[in-house]
Amino acid sequence: MSVTLPILILAIPLFMFLLLGIGGVKMSRKLAGILGITALGAVAVISYYVAFTYFFSGDSLFIDDGVRQQCQMFDVTWLAFTDRMVVNIGFLLDPISAMMLVVITTISFMVHLYSWGYMEHEPGFQRYYAFLALFTFSMLGLVVATNIFQMYIFWELVGVSSYLLIGFFYKLPSAVSASKKAFIVTRFADLFMLIGILVLSYYVSNAPADGPLGSASAFNFQMLNNNAGVIANTVVGATFMSGSVLTWAMVLIFVGGMGKSAMLPLHIWLPDAMEGPTPVSALIHAATMVVAGVYLVARFFPLYCIVPDSLTFITIVGAITAFYAAVVACTQIDIKRVLAFSTISQIAFMMVSLGVAYNQPIEGVHYSGLGYMASMFHLFTHAMFKALLFLGAGALIHAVHSNDYTKMGGLRKYMPITHWTFLIGCLAIAGIPPFSGFFSKDEMLAAMYNNHWFWGAWMSMVAGLTAFYMFRLYYLIFWWEENPEYKKEGHKPHDAPWQMSVPLIFLAAVSCVAGFIPFGEFVTYNGEPYHIHLETPVAVTSIVIALLAIGLATVMYAKKNPLPAKFKNAMPGLWKAAHHRFYWDEIYQFVTHKIIFNIICRSIAWFDRHVIDGTMNALAYVTNFFSVKIKGMQSGYVQAYVLWYFAGALVLAVITWICLI
């Protein structure tokens, strides 16, 4: 495979961004839409081809002795800080990046197509496609990064595209503030990532050049991952606050991932990000960008394994987040927010799965392969069914013009396609076989149980909650009680146009069958194939839990009944807290506005105006003051002048005399 195709994968979206961004104003909507969709279609085809070639061609470049290889398709110098710190822009092809290429281009293409219908009447249609192209470019660049710095570059770019897309309806203050929040929170997390990279690259680049690390760039993933042990030895002496520097670095880098992947406590931006157009939520805030954190950990997996403390950290963060988000999702009214919290919870699932994947033999068996593989597998399946759910939600919103389920209910009759595809999505996420979510979740749970029973049990509970809230949502939208509004003329909801339905059907189909992909053959932490086999006890338990949860949801929400209200009233405090997402936003609001903005910034500004500036003004004032004070010297009386004169001469003499003699 030549380098042309990888370059095209990155170049086409970038070009489309520039074309639509600069020339979009002059284009018609139709032209812009077609251009965008065609271009993305082309990228998708190329990506499929590349991924296909990578997995199936058997080229020794890609697979060697049954082990899948990492292959830098190209890697050009972009900026050289020092000889040992060179930023390259390149294209790394390995199992996870190939998999991500498929995921991103698929979802992106679906979203492009879907948006054609969904955004049809919005002003700024061309701009929208330009931003989508920018996002696709950035996300692709992120996953194919050959080095951590390239990843950071595109990491920032996806952040900005996310900002632009969330704030697409820029006339709405809520959208503007949501986009701002998303950007700043992720930027805050990126700061830690940057510091992590700084620390890591400092120690790596300062390792002796004639040592085992050679003189390769300190950013390069391959170099870092292949020499994880060496690096750990190199920095073994360096500690900071009783933690190894490497642990610190890896944890800091992970914090960047926490921001993008909306892990507690940096999750607050994601629910608000639902202010953006729904297809955008499907693409960015469900399927692709938010899993960047998971991808980052997977990418750095060998280094994380060398410092198990950081993996423990990841596990704990993930576990807490997963549970928290699941609980909150049970109480939300806005359907997109339910999905958003569900996304957070699912990503946390993947995080835990990576976190439990110790690369240490437990009773002689390497279990690391399982957690890693399962996490990636779930990433894949989750992208499909969560995009499906979001797009379905988009179709609902399109039809009902509201985000609240209270405005919905009984829609199954009006929107059959949406209904069925949504149901498939719910079943997939709930982990019911044979839908894709079951397989991936099962593998993850198995990995967790293998690590420690606690993680397994905890996450099984979360899985149960997932099934419950998804079906709560499902019932509340499609069953419950029909909204009387629908009977009115012109308010009758109907299924979306074909541009929107086709992606729904396609993704539903994928969600049905994706579980049967022998994922372990393709994506494993070390490139060697891993044969997936169902762990029966785990599978059975999780199915049972899921079914129980669905049953509970059916009882409570399938028909209108007072049960939910009773539950709510039984524990009002908890419900209220969960409904308010346990007041994280308020805490942040307090810290940022009251403390940072009002106390720190204002006092600094005050200090600047009054102390620093005041000092300068005071200098002028003092000068003037003395000027006025001494004016009496020039009294106008010649005798006084002479007295000064004479006294001056005498003083001069006396002082000199005293000093000298």
């Binding site: 106008g636 009386y637 010649v638 005798q639 002479v642 007295l643």
Partner: protein
Amino acid sequence: MDLNMLWYLVPSVIMFVAGVYGFVTRKNMIALLISLELMLNSADLNFVIFNRFLYPGSMEGMVFTLFAIAIAAAETAIAIAIIVNIYRKLHSTEIDEVDKMKY
């Protein structure tokens, strides 16, 4: 009693100080001029004294004194002319009244 230099110098300095004192305290411009004259003369006196006692062989101090006296006379002339001018305008020779320009 031996008349050494100090016997001459002390009166000279007293003259000088008296001149300064007079200049600073008197109100009439003519009195100021007289005070100035005292100061100038004390300086002249000094020259003569030093010449007489320290360098009896040369005449520089004496010559200098002659010139200084001439200069003092010129100064007085100009000063008087100006005082007359002021008197025409203010009808007064009080120095305190000449303080329109200040600060």
